[in-house]
């Protein structure tokens, strides 16, 4: 339920229930803060800078497939 709380997916009743509990519970506050930071780190995750280049042969096939898809859409 805590993840749903962080994602804003809980209804008012459940939100209040959690907030009433954590208001007097410093360990819970720290726990939720660290979980929120963890989720934010995943949102901000950049991954590897390097990305493999597409082999020229495949790039040609991709462009042809894309053009064909566009033509079919028209």
């Amino acid at each position: 339920m805590l993840s749903e709380y962080l994602d804003g997916d809980l209804d008012d009743f459940d939100c209040r229930h959690i907030e009433e509990h954590i208001a007097d519970c410093p360990p819970c506050i720290d726990f939720i803060k660290s979980l929120r930071k963890c989720v934010q780190a995943s949102h901000d995750f950049k991954g590897r800078e390097e990305c493999p280049s597409i082999p020229p042969e495949l790039e040609g096939r991709l462009k042809a497939a894309w053009q064909a898809a566009l033509a079919r859409k028209k």
């Binding site: 963890c38 995943s42 950049k46 493999p52 597409i54 859409k73």
Partner: protein
């Protein structure tokens, strides 16, 4: 196309584990997407459609390899130890970026990649789609052929596992405790 390719490659790399496999799967995925683009019924669901294709190619690649059996985490393993988590503490402040904070952020990014790759597949697949790629719970459920309730449960356990492994980077800084 490069940005699109980068997202797919990042996903396949974290799912496959090997660069060579990830490159092959990413290329297969791109080709499949482009060749079957006109089969996309609802443009609003393009992300789910793309990652469903990527996931299927990752699964096909995995079936050719040998993998350790997966097991589910229990919540007891993931929740804080009453005696305190026995980890070193690296405090990462949230304030504007200073050079040393940029270094810490890069360190967190590298550590997060390592931890993500070490997550059991059933959690990694959900965390990657929900938190890294930003798909909704419904989209993630659709891509992975799971119910939304299972997605929510695995997401929470995956996040708890990440939090546990990243605890050194997530500790509150001085003065933040009462915010």
């Amino acid at each position: 196309m490069e940005s699109f390719q980068h997202r797919i490659f990042q996903y396949t790399w974290l799912m496959c584990g090997q660069r060579e496999d990830a490159e092959e799967v990413a290329q297969d995925t791109l080709l499949k997407i482009f060749e079957s683009f006109d089969q996309l019924q609802d443009p609003e669901r393009v992300k789910a459609w793309v990652f469903r294709i990527a996931k299927n190619y990752c699964l096909m690649k995995r079936r050719k390899s040998v993998f350790a059996p997966e097991r589910e985490y229990s919540l007891d393993e993931l929740l804080p130890n009453p005696a305190g988590d026995s980890v070193r503490t690296v405090q990462v402040p949230d304030t504007a970026e200073l050079p040393e904070q940029q270094v810490l952020r890069a360190e967190l990014n590298a550590e997060l990649e390592r931890v993500l790759r070490g997550l059991p597949d059933l959690y990694r697949s959900v965390v990657l789609l929900r938190d890294v790629e930003g798909l909704s719970t419904a989209e993630t459920a659709e891509v992975l052929d799971l119910s939304e309730d299972v997605v929510k449960q695995r997401l929470h356990r995956g996040r708890l596992a990440l939090r546990k492994d990243l605890a050194a980077y997530l500790s509150p800084v001085n003065g933040e405790e009462n915010k």
